[in-house]
Amino acid sequence: MTLAAASHGFLTPSGVEIAFLLVGLVTLGAAVVTVTTRQLVHAALWLVVALGGTAVEYLLLTAEFIAWVQVLIYVGSVVVLLLFGLMLTKAPIGRSPDADSGNRWAAVAVAAASAVALVWVVVDAFRATWIELGTPQGSTETTGRSLFQYWVLPFEALSVLLLAALVGAIVLSRKGDTAITGDGGTPPGPGPGTPPAPGGTAPVARAATGPVATPGPAPREEQR
């Protein structure tokens, strides 16, 4: 498969490679902004860019079906879910100074070390590997064939998993009665007298007022 890698130098990139690099840079930049921005809603929006960029990369790697699925699921539903979540937990709009926790520098160190190690290993291993993109790999037809020819059983098992997730999400987010009454029904609760969070980060004061419960996430799972 690794045919004549030497003939393809890094200094003479093909058009696909240039496109991949550019989109990759955008994706990476969006991802970095996602994990560093102090505005929580912006983070979700930058995540859209990053996920969309990944979808484009899939396209460049000739996996078109996956690209569309990516757009549909991630950009379409996951990010929407996340935004719902942000809203339901009353995330502050605007800059929040304590978006990063205390062990930020440890996180930087671990992440940087991982990055160095991974990039070093990957580059060392696949320096001369060439992907032949002549024939598209992931058209809808081929993907569908392989999926329903070879991967039917896992596919069905996956549907069971999704069903379980659906049920679990409903049970978890149901407003405190039968199933979780044992504990959730009589919570000490964040009563108004004991606001656990000192101001700023989250407007917890109204948290206990009933109707904020989330009927939200569960049904949406059905899309997939």
């Binding site: 490679e17 991949f20 990759g24 994706t27 990476l28 970095v32 994990v35 929580l40 983070a43 979700a44 990053a50 990944t54 990369e57 000739t62 996996a63 996956i66 991630y74 539903s77 996340l82 719902f84 339901l88 937990t89 009353k90 978006a99 926790s101 205390g102 062990n103 992440a111 991974l118 990957v122 696949f126 060439w130 993109l133 790999q137 992931g138 993907t143 392989s146 999926l147 070879y150 996956l158 998993l161 997730a165 999400a169 978890l172 987010s173 044992g182 504990d183 964040p190 606001p195 656990p196 969070a197 980060t201 917890v204 004061a205 948290a207 206990a208 904020v212 569960a218 899309q223 997939r224």
Partner: protein, 125 residues
């Protein structure tokens, strides 16, 4: 196309997500970072599938499965976060410290650490 490009991009995306998981306070932001990490894995899967030209298209099938699992994960995760938020009024990960090993009796410490009684009820929920 060189395999190095998607591989390096995946590695960097993964590490970005890793940083997010470790550094973000808000649980929903942590979930976003997890999504980034999953995407990095997906990118790798697709790239290697394209490189290996697998007749079974195992890489792409696995990517699809991963996406589905990620969707399920985000649903359950959000449900948990909302539940925590409903009971505790917070969604900050680093203030959910039920697992902390505090010397002495837990009750004595509960008086000066306010989240303590709430978390206890929550943890069993």
């Amino acid at each position: 196309m060189h395999l190095v490009y998607p591989a390096v991009l995946a590695a960097l995306l993964f590490c970005t997500g890793l940083y997010g998981v470790l550094a973000r306070r808000n649980a929903i932001l942590v979930l976003m970072s997890v999504e980034l990490m999953l995407n990095a894995v997906n990118l790798n899967l697709v790239a290697f599938d394209a490189w290996l030209r697998d007749t079974l298209h195992a890489g792409q099938a696995l990517t699809l499965f991963t996406i589905a699992v990620a969707a399920a994960e985000i649903g359950i995760g959000l449900a948990i976060v909302l539940l925590v938020h409903r009971h505790r009024g917070i969604s900050d990960i680093d203030r959910l410290r039920d697992l902390a090993d505090t010397p002495g009796t837990p009750d004595a410490d509960a008086t000066d650490q306010q989240p303590q009684p709430d978390t206890k009820a929550e943890a069993t929920a």
